[in-house]
């Protein structure tokens, strides 16, 4: 058995931590003027963590290597943006070719809803439409072997982007002008800029964790381990892959919808392949097959990229001596080195396929000493 604290202790610790985080977020929101940078990085981190956990559901738990994240996020972002955008802003945003009449009257009929409900509906609609796309795309694509699946989903993602930007859809997606005036998290008036994205993330990730722990999650793992054996045990490959793909795409689109609310204005260029790579990076850094890893990875990568390494982008002059290398873009070089180091020293990502446990966290200092001692024998093993 794995060592752990009794359930009651774990529950108490978790409750304390949850309440602590809640008040921390609540307090931070009050400091919006001083802490604007921190708040926006936290928002982005938590939004990406949903996409990363969704990707991990496929890659880490079902063994499906899909690279369609940006496409499903784009679907979520556009659907959410279109539904949530206030009718009063439509003319301003669609100033070139106007909005399609059907869409406009649909929005007018929705405008009776209070904003929080409208936004909830907008996010869910984004998820559902992405899920429908996933179901359709999944029919041909999920029968492919792993590498081809990655390429096919990557292609799908690019097609989505191209269609969104297509001039023929100007009256729906506003073509290359993109969507603007998307309500942000604080549009309800109250404190929501952190609590909303964190709340949605907790709900989404909890669902995925429960799914993974259910019998279906075990079936996904069986497919990851050995497709032929899984099928021989009565697990329908297509059915279960399709299920994982649809659920993952649903939550990826929710993440995209939150991203639209975070950015306030979006266009198709925000959903390039690089977005998929960012999420893949988070999953790999955190550990393929670890939900905790994907969450930690999302925060780590976003903080490193957007904040901690900013220092390297600023030219620095000490006593008239201009420190070499420090200029715009150097941050990304340092970031890449940092990635290589992680991959070198933690080949399976920071968490491997383990999950967070209070016991592991609190016994961490003690284990560092032990790990050093056991290293040589580990090396021997590697040489065999």
């Amino acid at each position: 058995m794995k060592k752990n604290f009794p359930a009651s202790v774990r529950l108490t610790l978790s409750l304390i931590a949850a309440v602590g985080v809640f008040f921390l977020l609540f307090w931070l929101e009050g400091q919006r003027t001083e802490q604007g940078m921190l708040i926006s990085i936290l928002q982005k981190s938590v939004i990406l963590s949903i996409a990363a956990v969704s990707m991990n559901l496929l890659t880490g738990f079902t063994g499906l290597f899909s690279l369609g994240q940006a496409g499903f996020m784009a679907i979520g972002a556009y659907v959410t943006g279109l539904i949530a955008m206030p009718v009063s802003s439509v003319d301003n945003v669609f100033y070139v070719s106007g909005m399609a009449d059907g869409l406009r009257s649909f929005k007018e009929s929705l405008s009776v809803l209070p904003t929080p409900l409208l936004i909830t509906l907008a996010l869910l609609a984004g998820g559902l439409i992405a899920a429908i796309f996933a179901a359709l795309v999944g029919i041909p694509v999920l029968r492919l072997k792993s590498d081809y699946l990655a390429i096919a989903t990557l292609g799908f993602s690019e097609i989505v982007r191209a269609i969104i930007a297509a001039p023929q859809l100007d009256r729906i997606t506003n073509g290359s002008y993109g969507l603007k005036a998307i309500p942000g998290f604080d549009s309800g008036g109250g404190r929501g800029s952190l609590l909303i994205p964190f709340g949605v993330a907790v709900a989404c990730i909890t669902f995925i964790v429960l799914l993974i722990r259910s019998s279906y999650g075990r079936a996904f793992k069986a497919i990851r381990e050995d497709e032929i054996a899984a099928e021989a045990m009565g697990i329908g490959l297509f059915k279960h892959k399709q299920l994982a793909f649809i659920i993952s795409s649903f939550f990826t689109a929710i993440s995209g919808g939150l991203l639209a609310m975070f950015m306030r204005s979006i266009d198709a260029r925000a959903f390039q392949v690089t977005l998929t790579y960012d999420i893949l990076l988070i999953v790999v850094i955190g550990g393929i097959g670890s939900i905790t890893g994907s969450i930690v990875g999302a925060f780590l990568v976003t903080f490193a990229k957007e904040w901690w390494l900013r220092f390297f982008d600023q030219p620095l002059v000490i006593n008239g001596f201009k420190v070499p290398l420090l200029r715009t873009g150097f941050r990304m070089v340092v970031f890449s080195i940092f990635l290589m180091l992680i991959v070198l020293f933690y080949r399976k990502g920071l968490m491997g396929n383990r999950e967070f446990s209070w016991y592991r966290l609190l016994s961490w200092p003690a284990r560092i000493g032990r790990r050093k001692k056991s290293l040589p024998s580990g090396d021997e093993e590697a040489l065999k």
Binding site: M1, F207, L210, L211, S214, S215, Y216, R218, A219, K221, A222, E225, D226, I228, A229, A230, E231, A232, M233, G234, I235, G236, L237, F238, L243, I247, N353
Partner: protein
Amino acid sequence: MTRKEMTNGRPDTAKVLVTENLTMQFGGVVAVDKLNVVVHEGEIVALIGPNGAGKTTAFNVITGVYTPTNGRVRLFDRIIAENRPRGKMKALYKGDDAGQYKDDVVLTPDKITKLGVARTFQNIRLFKSLSVFENVLIAHHTNLKAGVLRATFGLNRKEEKDMHEKSMELLSIVGLDHLADEVSGSLPYGMQRRLEIARALATEPKLLLLDEPAAGMNPQETLDLMAFIRDIKDRFGLTIFMIEHHMNLVMGISDRIYVIDFGRQIAEGTPVEIQANPDVIRAYLGVDE
């Protein structure tokens, strides 16, 4: 006793598995050639033959891994596979009875498992990085009633609890309950074979296919396995169809034996008959015809 008498001697036992002219041809290689097997309810039937004779391929066709090139497979009264040479295979096909099987029946392996066929693999295929317990638990999934939302929100608690209990029970039957939390891939070979059988039983089969269950076992382990197979057969009311090379095991446990060589069926009968059959002796000694 001839085959006819055998069959007539069991008028009231149902035929669990019937293969009719079952043929599997890979390109120009005929791996299984007109196999006609009948397995009755409650029997232990063995399929033997030299290496490369096509035994595993026959299992793969029966369980839906491959679609047969020609012929038919029946499970109870249901046709679970039927095919005839088509496309490129029409020209390549080496048999003479093409076109006799008009229907197309193709079931994926999971569907066939749901109909009550479970199997083990010659090259053990456990879910290696998962625990011993999880391996058995996963196999119960095929009989799960709850949908994905019910299962996710834990609304099928009773069902889930039953699955856990049944898994633990199966592990204790195969004597692996004390290793439930071990990583299955780290078990010794013999235990992995037992675990694979436990996992197959978890799907609640009527027909169990064992592909060389004694491979890699020493004589004592083989004897234990023989008792074990008899035990699970009685306990779960199984019908067993197995491939095996250990002649002691085959002769000691089987009600009937089919022998194939180069894909072709060369003999069928009771262990005593098979041991006396000149064709079988020739095939096994490798004497040229």
